[in-house]
């Protein structure tokens, strides 16, 4: 870290695969730095106290809460935000299934869920429903009731394993009465 004239700190780090640097007031959280100093507003700002999970980003591949992580501590680390999830304009399979299955409604919680699910599937390509629930237990959603989110993770996992699966009809249209 070096200090610039305006009492800002300057750090170098890798942001979504690109070498980057950013100057910011040294007491800022990574959430504030991403949204205010880098203009990356995909990372959402919720409770600010560790109680909701919507501010989740990956540091060296591991999910952390950017509202409780100092910008200064990102120095020399690899930071992945939701903006870095699609590769070369192609959505990550999780992004596809979240959209297809209605796992994003208001969407406020979605960046956090997607990044945690991405890390889960990298560690465990065939998680059980229980393992998915456990891995996502640090992210709150007030809209979906979670079922659609679990189904979207399961479908993405199956597609990433190379299985050709279609979502169950009722996951998209609901049960017919």
């Amino acid at each position: 870290m070096t200090r610039t004239k305006s009492q800002k700190a300057l750090i170098r780090f890798t942001l979504n695969g690109e070498p980057s640097e950013v100057a910011f007031a040294p007491h800022k959280t990574l959430l504030e730095v991403l949204r205010e100093d880098l203009g990356l507003t995909g990372t959402k700002h919720g409770c600010e106290l560790g109680e909701c999970g919507t501010c989740t980003v990956l540091i060296d591949g591991q999910p952390i809460l950017s509202c409780l992580f100092l910008g200064l501590d990102a120095e020399d680390r690899e930071v992945t935000t939701i903006e870095g999830m699609a590769e070369g304009g192609k959505l990550h399979p999780l992004q596809d299934t979240f959209a297809d299955l209605g796992a994003a409604q208001c969407g406020y919680c979605t960046p956090g869920f997607l990044l945690v699910a991405k890390e889960l599937l990298e560690k465990n390509p065939s998680p059980s429903r229980n393992e998915i629930q456990e891995a996502l237990a640090g992210n709150l959603c007030r809209c979906t009731g979670y079922i659609k989110i679990y189904e979207a993770v399961e479908l993405a996992a199956a597609r990433m394993r190379g299985e050709e699966v279609e979502p169950p009809r009722e996951s998209i249209y609901g049960f017919e009465v």
Partner: protein
């Protein structure tokens, strides 16, 4: 937006630098590890250190050594996720990994450390609020005020011991190593805590917690049970840690029953321990111990759930803990 106050941030790489930095910075300095307790408190202006010294880059604080026969030493900066996943801890001290899995959320466990957990600030519904809220009702004595809103005639603060690992570490007889510029000392985990919501630690602010020592396993069996509203996120509003050592003939040789979440410090229930020692772990002894813990648990109305129910739950939770130990015999 709730922002952190301004502070000077130092990131030492060796322990001797860390303790001299904190010593030089004086009374307004604090250590930080994962920050999952300190930073929310700073945002709410409950804690307002001028200097914050990070312990995350102190390499020796990340070490895990030993096994059941030698005892284990766990560096204070080891994350809770590492504890949950560590193969030797899971094999030799599974109750430690099990209790760690009950803490907060998977994402918070990636950040939070065992050291920070053992030093977690005490909690209270009148304290864990933002600055404006606390100002609105007039501050309490734990920060900026001179009254206790939970027990207005009380001369002391009753903020609650809320770490999940603390009762277990006390029950199994763990030790902690504290290092400062003037030397180092080992302390029994039970002696680290003080039954006062403000002065809740018998540790000077300039002392760095470096290691946690688990005793050799021998015949030790232990378990931790936690009461909370949701299956994730929530702090314990009652925690029961039980540890026993049973002779080959089935007689309980040693027993520890520690309650968390009901007082500023973990509470040792010696009446319950006495009920168990010298007899087999049978249904009668278990209910006697559960009754003793129920009588000893005196929570106040400063956490989630009404206090009467939290007290009542001491009985079934102790029962469940001891029955689980009995099934392991």
């Amino acid at each position: 937006m709730m922002r952190l106050p301004k502070f000077t941030y130092r990131v030492p790489k060796i322990v001797s630098d860390a303790v001299s930095m904190i010593g030089d910075a004086g009374a307004d300095a604090m250590f930080v590890a994962g920050g999952t307790d300190l930073y929310p408190n700073m945002k709410r202006r409950q804690q307002t250190p001028k200097t914050v010294v990070s312990v995350t880059r102190l390499r020796e604080l990340h070490e895990i050594r030993g096994d059941a026969s030698t005892g284990m030493s766990i560096g204070s900066s080891v994350s809770l996720t590492e504890i949950c996943e560590h193969s030797v801890i899971n094999r030799d001290y599974p109750f430690v990994a099990d209790a760690a899995r009950l803490i907060s959320t998977p994402i918070l466990r990636n950040m939070g450390t065992i050291g920070g957990n053992l030093l977690l600030d005490t909690r209270c519904n009148y304290y864990d609020q933002n600055y404006e809220w606390r100002k609105g009702i007039n501050f309490c004595m734990k920060k900026d005020g001179d009254i206790c809103w939970v027990a207005p005639s009380s001369p002391k603060c009753w903020a609650v011991q809320s770490s999940d690992l603390v009762p277990l570490m006390v029950a199994i007889g763990a030790k902690v190593k504290l290092v400062s510029a003037s030397g180092e000392r080992m302390l029994e985990a039970r002696d680290l805590y003080n039954n006062d919501g403000i002065q809740y630690l018998n540790k000077r602010p300039d002392e760095l917690l470096t290691e946690i020592h688990l005793p050799p396993r021998n015949g030790l069996r232990a378990v931790y049970k936690k009461l909370r509203r949701r299956g994730s996120f929530d702090f314990p509003v009652l925690g029961v840690a039980a540890a026993i050592d049973v002779a080959p003939d089935g007689t309980v040789r040693e027993a520890k029953l520690i309650l968390g979440g009901v007082s500023p410090a973990p509470i040792e229930v010696s009446e319950a321990q006495q009920a168990l020692i010298g007899s087999p772990l049978d249904v009668e002894r278990i209910s006697e111990a559960a009754e003793a813990c129920y009588l000893k648990a005196r929570p106040l109305d400063n956490t989630d759930y009404v206090m009467g129910w939290r007290k009542q739950m001491a009985r079934p939770f102790v029962q469940r803990a001891l029955e689980e130990l009995r099934r392991q015999l």
